[in-house]
C-alpha cells in the first residue's frame, strides 16, 4: 500500500489529466447504460402503441447515446494513456537518477542481466499503472453510485441490490481473489525475472557456454525455470478466469434479483411495466464499470512488487552521499593520501593497509603490484566511488570527503579496467568523455592511441559502428579506443589502470611514449603489473597485499633487489639471458 501511494505521487504533476480521464471514463459507461436503458424504454413504450410524439424524446436519447459512447471512449483512452506515458517517463528517469549515485559501489551485487530485468521488465509492468490501476476504481465507484441512485428512485431495494452487486463485483471479488493469490503473484514477477536473467546470462556468455556448457544441462536449467514461471502464470490465469466467471455470474444475478423484486411490483401495479426491461438492462449494463477491476487487483500485486523492487534499488543509500560542501578552487591540485586503510566489507580482509602517497602536480607516478594487491581499489577511493573510513585523502589539504564528488572527478581523466564501450559508432564512444570535442581533437586522440592506421582500414572511419560493448573489435582495439577517449579529456590528472594488458609490445611501447609526452605538465598515475616503460617515472610504488612495500625510482628499486626487482627480472631478465646477444643496462 505504501508502495502504491508512493507511485501515486508520481501522478501529481498532471492532476488535471487524471481528473479529465476519470470523468470521461464515467461518461463512457453512462452512455452505454443510457443507450440500452432508453432503447428498452423506447421499445416497451412503443409496445403500448402511443402517439409517435411520446416516443420522440427517447428516440433522440437512443441516437445521442449511440454516438456519444464511442466518442467519449476514444477521448478517454487518449487522455488516460497520455497520463500513463508521462508517468512512465518520469518513473524511468527517476529510476536512473536514483541508480546513478549508486554506481559502482551499490550495484556490485546486481548482475547486469538482473538489472536489465528489473529496469525494463519492472518498469514495463508499471507501464499501465494509471490506465489499469488508478482510473478503473475511481470510474467504477462513481458509476456505481450514480447507477444505484438512479434505479433507487423507483424502489430503494433496486438501488441497494445494484449497489451491492456493483461494489462486490468491482471491489469484493477482486480483493478476495487477490488475497487468496497474493504469494503466487509475487512469485510470478520473481520467476519471470529469474527465467529472463538466466536466458540473458546464457546469451551474454554464449561463447563460454558453447565451449563449457552441457546442452542437456542448459536446457534442463532453462526448462526448470520456465516450468515454475509457467506454473505461476497458470495459477494466475485460473484465478483471473475464476473472477471473470464470478463477475459474469454476479452481474446476471443482480439483474435476476432486480427482476424478482420488480415482477410482483409490476403485476400489482406499483411499478410501471415499461420500466421492467429498463431496470433489467440498466442493472446488466452498469456492470461494464466493474469489468476492468478484475485486472486491477491482479496488476496491483504485480505492479506493487515491481514497484517495490524498483524502490528497493533506488532506496539503497548511495555509498557516496552528500553534495559539495567545500567548493573546488584549485585547477591542478596536490593530492596527499595519508595512511589509508580500506576493505569493501567486514567479511573480506582489508584491501589497503596504511597506504600513503603524495601526488604533486606534474608528478609521474606508477603503482605496480600483483593482482589483488589493491591497485584498483586505490583508484576507486580516489574517484570517490567508495568512502574510506581509516586514513585520509587530502586535495590541497582538504579532506576528499568534504569535496563535491563530481568536482573531484573533473580533475581526472581515467582509463579503467574493462573500459565500457557502448553500441554506437567510434565517434560516439570517443565523445563519451568529451561531448564537444572537435574532429581534429578526435583524430589527434586516435593518433595518440596508435589507431590511425586501423581507422584507415574502416570504410566508415570514425562513424564505424562497434557492437554492444564493442564486440566487433578486438581486445587491443578496444583498449586503444579507451586510451584515445582518455586522451581527449584535458584534465590535469590522468589515471590509467592496466592500460596495456591487451596490447602487443610494439604498440604498447609507442603508446607509453605518446602518453608520457602528452602528460608533460599533467600528473600521471600509471597502474600496472607490467613493468615496461617505467624508467622515466618519478616514483614507482610497489603494492603487495595492500601495503606499500617498496617505493623509489626504477633504478633504485632494481638495486634494492626486492619484490620489484624480482618481478622485473621475471618479466625481462630471463628473456635477455636467453637472448644472450643483448646487453641491457638496468639503469636508464
Amino acid at each position: 500500500m505504501v508502495t502504491i501511494l508512493r507511485m501515486l505521487r508520481f501522478l501529481r504533476p498532471f492532476r488535471t489529466t487524471v481528473l479529465a480521464s476519470v470523468a470521461l471514463g464515467v461518461a463512457t459507461i453512462a452512455s452505454g447504460i443510457g443507450l440500452l436503458g432508453t432503447s428498452a424504454y423506447l421499445i416497451s413504450r412503443a409496445a403500448l402503441q402511443p402517439s409517435i410524439a411520446v416516443l420522440q424524446v427517447s428516440i433522440v436519447g437512443v441516437r445521442f447515446f449511440g454516438l456519444s459512447r464511442g466518442i467519449f471512449r476514444y477521448v478517454e483512452r487518449l487522455v488516460s494513456h497520455s497520463a500513463n506515458f508521462k508517468l512512465l517517463a518520469q518513473l524511468r528517469t527517476w529510476f536512473f537518477k536514483s541508480v546513478e549515485p549508486l554506481a559502482p559501489a551499490g550495484l556490485t551485487y546486481l548482475s547486469s542481466g538482473d538489472l536489465l530485468a528489473r529496469s525494463i521488465a519492472d518498469i514495463d509492468t508499471l507501464e499501465d499503472f494509471f490506465v489499469r490501476l488508478v482510473s478503473p476504481p475511481l470510474v467504477a465507484l462513481i458509476t456505481s453510485l450514480c447507477a444505484s441512485l438512479f434505479v433507487g428512485q423507483f424502489d430503494p431495494r433496486f438501488g441497494l441490490i445494484l449497489m451491492l452487486g456493483l461494489l462486490s463485483s468491482s471491489f469484493g471479488i477482486p480483493l478476495l481473489s487477490n488475497r487468496l493469490q497474493r504469494n503466487s503473484r509475487n512469485q510470478l514477477v520473481q520467476s519471470r525475472s529469474d527465467l529472463h536473467a538466466a536466458i540473458t546470462d546464457s546469451i551474454l556468455g554464449i561463447a563460454d557456454l558453447l565451449v563449457y556448457g552441457n546442452a542437456d544441462e542448459i536446457h534442463k536449467r532453462i526448462k526448470n525455470l520456465r516450468s515454475s514461471y509457467q506454473a505461476d502464470q497458470r495459477k494466475l490465469a485460473w484465478r483471473e478466469a475464476l473472477s471473470d466467471a464470478a463477475n459474469l455470474l454476479l452481474s446476471n444475478l443482480t439483474m435476476w434479483l432486480v427482476l424478482l423484486i420488480a415482477i410482483p411490483l409490476v403485476s400489482t401495479g406499483q411499478l410501471d411495466g415499461v420500466l421492467l426491461a429498463v431496470l433489467a438492462l440498466i442493472a446488466l449494463t452498469s456492470f461494464e464499470a466493474a469489468q476492468p477491476m478484475g485486472l486491477v487487483a491482479q496488476n496491483l500485486e504485480n505492479s506493487a512488487s515491481a514497484a517495490r523492487r524498483l524502490f528497493e534499488i533506488a532506496n539503497a543509500r548511495p555509498e557516496i552521499a552528500g553534495q559539495a560542501m567545500t567548493p573546488i578552487t584549485s585547477i591542478h591540485p596536490t593530492i596527499e593520501i595519508k595512511e589509508l586503510s580500506f576493505g569493501y566489507d567486514s567479511t573480506q580482509p582489508g584491501i589497503l593497509d596504511q597506504v600513503s602517497i603524495s601526488l604533486t602536480p606534474g608528478k609521474k607516478l606508477a603503482i605496480v603490484g600483483p593482482s589483488g594487491s589493491g591497485k584498483t581499489t586505490l583508484l576507486n577511493l580516489l574517484l570517490r566511488f567508495w568512502n574510506y573510513r581509516e586514513g585520509i585523502i587530502e586535495v590541497d589539504g582538504v579532506d576528499l570527503h568534504d569535496l563535491d564528488a563530481e568536482g573531484v572527478r573533473d580533475y581526472f581523466s581515467v582509463l579503467s579496467q574493462n573500459a565500457f564501450l557502448m553500441s554506437g559508432t567510434i565517434r560516439q564512444n570517443l565523445l563519451l568523455s568529451m561531448p564537444d570535442a572537435s574532429e581534429a581533437q578526435l583524430l589527434a586522440a586516435i593518433d595518440l592511441a596508435q589507431m590511425a592506421d586501423w581507422l584507415k582500414t574502416l570504410p566508415d572511419g570514425l562513424d564505424t559502428w562497434i557492437g554492444e560493448n564493442g564486440v566487433q573489435i578486438s581486445g587491443g582495439e578496444r583498449q586503444r579506443l579507451a586510451i584515445a577517449r582518455l586522451a581527449l579529456r584535458e584534465q590535469p590528472i590522468w589515471i590509467l589502470d592496466e592500460p596495456s594488458s591487451n596490447l602487443d609490445a610494439i604498440t604498447e611501447q609507442r603508446i607509453i611514449q605518446r602518453i608520457m609526452n602528452a602528460c608533460n605538465e599533467r600528473t600521471l598515475v600509471w597502474i600496472t603489473h607490467r613493468l615496461t616503460g617505467l624508467e622515466n617515472m618519478d616514483e614507482i610504488l610497489v603494492l603487495s597485499s595492500g601495503r606499500i612495500v617498496e617505493h623509489g625510482k626504477h633504478a633504485q628499486l632494481l638495486q634494492q633487489k626486492g619484490l620489484y626487482a624480482r618481478m622485473w627480472h621475471i618479466q625481462n631478465q630471463e628473456i635477455f639471458d636467453n637472448l644472450g646477444t643483448f646487453s641491457i643496462s638496468s639503469t636508464s
Partner: protein, 583 residues
C-alpha cells in the same frame, strides 16, 4: 487478419486445447441466445400479460441455470486458452534459444545483444495475448454472429438485415485502419527494442560514464528517449484507438438503429413485443465478439511483429558446412592422441569489412605441443581461435584433423574436445564451484582441486568466507579482472579437453602468477595440446612453435631462438618488448 502461417503452425501440438477453447466459446454464444429468449418471454408476460411472479418463476429458475452454465463455460474457456498460450510460448522460446546456441557468438556480433535478449524474453511474452486472446477470438468473432443471425432471420427480416450489413463493417474498418496501425506498431517495436538496448548499455556503462562525469548527461538522455517513446507510442495509439472508435461507433449506432426501427414498427403493430425485446437483448452480444476482436487487434499485431523478429532469428541459415556435411553420431572422442591439426589455406573476411582477417593461412599443430600465436592486435590471432572453436567458418580453405576435415563433426561434438579461455571470459551467475565445474553432471572433487591449484585459484578460494559457494555474478562481481580470468582458467583446466585454446592467458595476471601459469600450462601439455594467443614474450618463449601473424598472413613460424636469430618481424616485436632499449 494478423495471421502468420508460421505462427499457426505452432498450433499443431495444441490442437485439442484450441478446439476445446473454440467449442466452449461457441457454447457461450448459445447460452446468450437462450438467456435473451428466456428473458424476453419473462418481460413480455409480466409487462404486457400482467402475469404474477409465480407464473414466470420456472422461467426465472431457467434463467438462473443459464447464468451458471455461462459462467462455467467462460471459466473453462479461459483456462484452456491459457494453457494453449503457455505451451506455444514455451515451444517457441525453446526453439529460439536452441537456435541461438546453434548460431553461436557469430550472431551476437551482428545483432545488439540487448535486442536479441528482448526477442527471446519480451518478444515471446508478446505472443501470450496473441494465442490466448486474439486467435481464439478471431474464430469466435466469425462463428457467434453467424449463429445469432441464423436465429434472428426467421424472427425479423429487417433487423436481421441491419445486423448482417453492419457486422462486416467492423472487420472492414479494422483492416483499413489496422493496416496503417500495423506499420506504426512495427516502428514502435523497433523503438522499444532500441530503447531497451540503450538502457542496458547505460546501466552497464554507468561506472565508466561516471569517471568521465557524463552519467548525469546520460540520465537526461533516458528522459529524452522515454519522452520520444511516449510521443511515438501515443501517435500509434491515436490510430489504433481510432479503429476501436470505429468499432464502437458501428456497434452502438447499429444498436440505436435497431432500437429505433423496432420501436417505430412496434408502434404500428408490425412486430411482436417479445421478438422485439429478444432482438434488442441480443444486439449488443451480436457485436460483442467483433468488438472484442477489435480490442485485441492490437494484441494480434504486436504478436505478429514480435513473431517477425522471432522467425527472423529462427530462419537464419546455419553455418554452411554444418548443413552440407551430415555427421554420423560419434561415440568415441574425436581427438585421440596423437593427432595433427592442420590449417590449410584458410581465408576469412568478417561481414562488412573490406580487408580479410585471415589470408591464405596455413600451419599445423601436433598433439602434445604448445603453439603460440604472435602478432599485433588485429593480425588475426583471435580469428584463428574463433575458427578452431567453430564460431565462424572459413570463406576458403579447410581445417583438417589427421587429414580429415573437422567439419564432418557436428560443432557440439567438436567443442567437447576443446577448452577455451577468451580475452574476457564470462562467468555465469552461480557459485564459484558451479563456474569451475561448469554444468558437469557429476562434480569430481579431486579434479576441481587440481584445476584450482593449476590456475592458482586456491588462495582466492581460501580467502573467501563462503569459499566455493561464493556467488560470482555475471562478469564476476567482486572478483578482480585477474581473479575472474583465473577462475575461467580453472574452468578450462577442469574440462581436461585434448585441445586447449588460451587467449592471452597472462593478461591481468602479475608476473609471479604469470610464471606459475606458464609452468602450469607446460604441465597441462602432457594431456592436452595448447594453442596460446599471447602478446607477452615471457609466456611464449617456452612454446614449441611460434606462429607470427601480420595482417592476416603467417609471416614466420618456428621456435623462439631460431625466429629471434632470423632477425625478421619477430625480432622487431621482441626488440620493442625489451623496451625500445636497443640503443
Amino acid at each position: 487478419m494478423n495471421l502468420d502461417r508460421r505462427l499457426l503452425k505452432q498450433l499443431r501440438n495444441v490442437r485439442v486445447a484450441f478446439v476445446i477453447t473454440i467449442l466452449l466459446g461457441f457454447m457461450g454464444g448459445i447460452f446468450i441466445l437462450l438467456q435473451a429468449y428466456d428473458l424476453s418471454i419473462i418481460i413480455d408476460r409480466v409487462f404486457l400479460g400482467k402475469e404474477p411472479l409465480h407464473a414466470v418463476i420456472t422461467l426465472l429458475w431457467g434463467l438462473l441455470a443459464i447464468f451458471l452454465l455461462r459462467a462455467a463455460t467462460l471459466f473453462f474457456m479461459h483456462a484452456s486458452s491459457n494453457s494453449l498460450a503457455l505451451h506455444v510460448k514455451a515451444q517457441l522460446q525453446e526453439s529460439l534459444f536452441d537456435k541461438l546456441l546453434q548460431l553461436g557468438p557469430a550472431i551476437i556480433q551482428e545483432h545488439p545483444t540487448g535486442e536479441l535478449i528482448a526477442t527471446v524474453t519480451q518478444g515471446i511474452e508478446a505472443l501470450d495475448a496473441y494465442f490466448r486472446q486474439y486467435l481464439p477470438q478471431l474464430v469466435l468473432a466469425a462463428l457467434i454472429p453467424i449463429l445469432m443471425l441464423i436465429f434472428v432471420f426467421p424472427l425479423d427480416l429487417i433487423s436481421a438485415l441491419v445486423l448482417l450489413f453492419t457486422a462486416p463493417l467492423i472487420p472492414l474498418f479494422m483492416i483499413l485502419i489496422g493496416k496503417t496501425a500495423e506499420n506504426l506498431t512495427k516502428r514502435q517495436w523497433v523503438t522499444l527494442k532500441r530503447m531497451s538496448a540503450h538502457f542496458l548499455d547505460i546501466l552497464r556503462g554507468l561506472t565508466t560514464l561516471k569517471t568521465f562525469n557524463q552519467s548525469k548527461n546520460f540520465i537526461d538522455r533516458v528522459n529524452s528517449v522515454s519522452e520520444e517513446y511516449r510521443k511515438t507510442t501515443l501517435s500509434v495509439l491515436q490510430i489504433t484507438f481510432l479503429s476501436a472508435l470505429a468499432l464502437e461507433l458501428i456497434a452502438t449506432i447499429s444498436i440505436a438503429i435497431i432500437a429505433v426501427q423496432i420501436g417505430i414498427r412496434l408502434l404500428y403493430g408490425q412486430i411482436e413485443f417479445q421478438k422485439a425485446m429478444f432482438i434488442l437483448l441480443i444486439a449488443p452480444d451480436f457485436y460483442l465478439p467483433l468488438r472484442t476482436l477489435g480490442m485485441r487487434f492490437h494484441a494480434g499485431m504486436s504478436g505478429l511483429s514480435a513473431a517477425q523478429h522471432i522467425f527472423e532469428i529462427l530462419e537464419l541459415p546455419l553455418n554452411r558446412k554444418q548443413v552440407i556435411i551430415n555427421s554420423s553420431p560419434i561415440t568415441q572422442p574425436i581427438i585421440g592422441l596423437p593427432f595433427k591439426l592442420e590449417f590449410r589455406n584458410i581465408s576469412f573476411t568478417y561481414p562488412r569489412r573490406s580487408q580479410p582477417a585471415l589470408n591464405e593461412v596455413s600451419f599445423s599443430i601436433s598433439s602434445g605441443t604448445v603453439t603460440a600465436l604472435v602478432g599485433k592486435s588485429g593480425a588475426g590471432k583471435s580469428t584463428i581461435a574463433r575458427l578452431l572453436l567453430r564460431f565462424i567458418e572459413p570463406d576458403q580453405g579447410d581445417i583438417l584433423l589427421n587429414g580429415e576435415s573437422i567439419y564432418r563433426f557436428n560443432p557440439d561434438e567438436w567443442r567437447e574436445m576443446v577448452g577455451w579461455v577468451s580475452q574476457s571470459p564470462h562467468l555465469f551467475n552461480g557459485s564459484l564451484l558451479e563456474n569451475i565445474a561448469f554444468q558437469s553432471p557429476q562434480v569430481d572433487q579431486s579434479q576441481v582441486l587440481e584445476a584450482v591449484r593449476l590456475a592458482h585459484v586456491d588462495h582466492l578460494v581460501d580467502s573467501l568466507v563462503q569459499g566455493y559457494d561464493t556467488q560470482v555474478g555475471e562478469g564476476g562481481a567482486r572478483l578482480s579482472g585477474g581473479e575472474a580470468k583465473r577462475v575461467a582458467l580453472a574452468r578450462a583446466f577442469y574440462k581436461q579437453a585434448p585441445l586447449l585454446i588460451l587467449d592471452e592467458p597472462t593478461s591481468n595476471l602479475d608476473p609471479d602468477q604469470e610464471a606459475l601459469l606458464v609452468d602450469a600450462t607446460q604441465k597441462l601439455v602432457e594431456n592436452s595440446t595448447v594453442m596460446m594467443i599471447a602478446h607477452r614474450i615471457s609466456s611464449i618463449r617456452k612454446a614449441d612453435q611460434i606462429i607470427v601473424l601480420d595482417q592476416g598472413r603467417v609471416v614466420e613460424t618456428g621456435h623462439h631462438d631460431t625466429l629471434y636469430a632470423a632477425a625478421g618481424y619477430y625480432h622487431s616485436l621482441v626488440s620493442a618488448y625489451v623496451g625500445g632499449k636497443t640503443w
